[in-house]
């Protein structure tokens, strides 16, 4: 019996170590993408309130991409507010070379019109877009975004969407170059943006 318990404990410890190795990430403001899991990123076309939007429309700018949904109770507002505060700290000349796109992975509830209102609340330079579930899933795969609908019987909704909450950084040439971790304070968001702005 005690042998079995020992085995279970050993198993749990091994799982904990493995889990730590896989998932532990120090709280850095910006994490480089691991080379082994290079994500292709790339162009895509989604729907904004005023019609189709393509990532290549923003060629020449550093683009911040965030995947979330407007019914998100606290995670999206936290990320978006921090990014918006970061954008506000840029000089007008810097801001002219930066764009922010909020991509809703909940097209069932988030219409382009609702997304426009939502994104602009945080910053006038923020664009809200969404698309078909298939299109979104394909883009998410290329950018390494995870999201999953969870049935949760909360007041005011039948489901929540768990999702990865990093902000993806695309350089002026349209290439996915990095990400800014969730809940990075605004002053460090500014540093991260400037790092990509000032790249040769």
């Amino acid at each position: 019996m005690s042998e079995r318990i020992l085995l279970v404990i050993a198993g749990l410890l091994a799982a904990a170590v493995l889990g730590l190795a896989l998932f532990w990430q120090p709280e850095l403001p910006e994490r480089p993408l691991p080379a082994a899991a290079a994500l292709s990123g790339g162009d895509f076309t989604l729907q904004a309130a005023n019609g189709p939007f393509s990532l290549h429309d923003l060629r020449g700018k550093v683009v911040l991409l965030y995947f979330g949904y407007t019914y998100c109770p606290d995670i999206c507002p936290t990320s978006l507010a921090a990014t918006a505060e970061g954008l506000k700290q840029l000089t007008p000349a810097e801001l002219a070379k930066v764009a922010m796109v909020f991509i809703s992975v909940d097209p069932e509830r988030d219409t382009p019109a609702r997304l426009k209102e939502y994104a602009e609340f945080f910053h006038s330079a923020m664009l809200g877009v969404t698309g078909t579930p298939e299109n979104l899933a394909e883009i998410a795969r290329r950018y390494g975004v995870f999201y999953a609908r969870q049935p949760v019987a909360t007041a005011g909704g039948d489901y929540v969407v768990d999702h990865s909450a990093d902000t993806y950084v695309v350089d002026a040439a349209g290439k996915l170059v990095g990400k800014i971790a969730h809940a990075t304070p605004p002053d460090q968001v500014v540093l991260a943006i400037r790092k990509y702005l000032n790249q040769p």
């Binding site: 990430q25 606290d74 005011g156």
Partner: protein, 153 residues
Amino acid sequence: MKKLSLLTACLMFSAGVLAAAADQISVDKPYVRLLPPGVQTTGAFMVIRNAGDKDVKLVKADNPASRVTELHTHLNEGGIMKMRPVAAIEIKAKGEALLQPGGLHIMLIDLKVPLKEGDVVPITLGFDDGSSKKLDAKVLRAAPEAAMSHHHH
């Protein structure tokens, strides 16, 4: 037996008089986050300080503006952020609990009327010994400066 219950009663009485948890608690920089139009759930944030010698647990919160009030936290599971309810928020003796975006917070779920910037939401904090504390939280677009910078100083 009688003596014991008398002693217990005395202890309870003195504990109640000397140290109701709420009397040891002070709240700094409370605010409710203004959310975009059409959104019906928001968070309340604050710094809760405990001047007492005993740990105190915040076990519930109430407010008249939303239909449901819950204590929540954010869990980062392998990069996936999950927001989940918690049963209690501990405020250590002579310590503080930081309720801030991205961590522990109070959720105001299903607002009865949309909140406007500058509105004041009365919030009642309930502690594990049954005592409670009322505070007024202003609806703000962004965190008050001191609360934002608090944790990295």
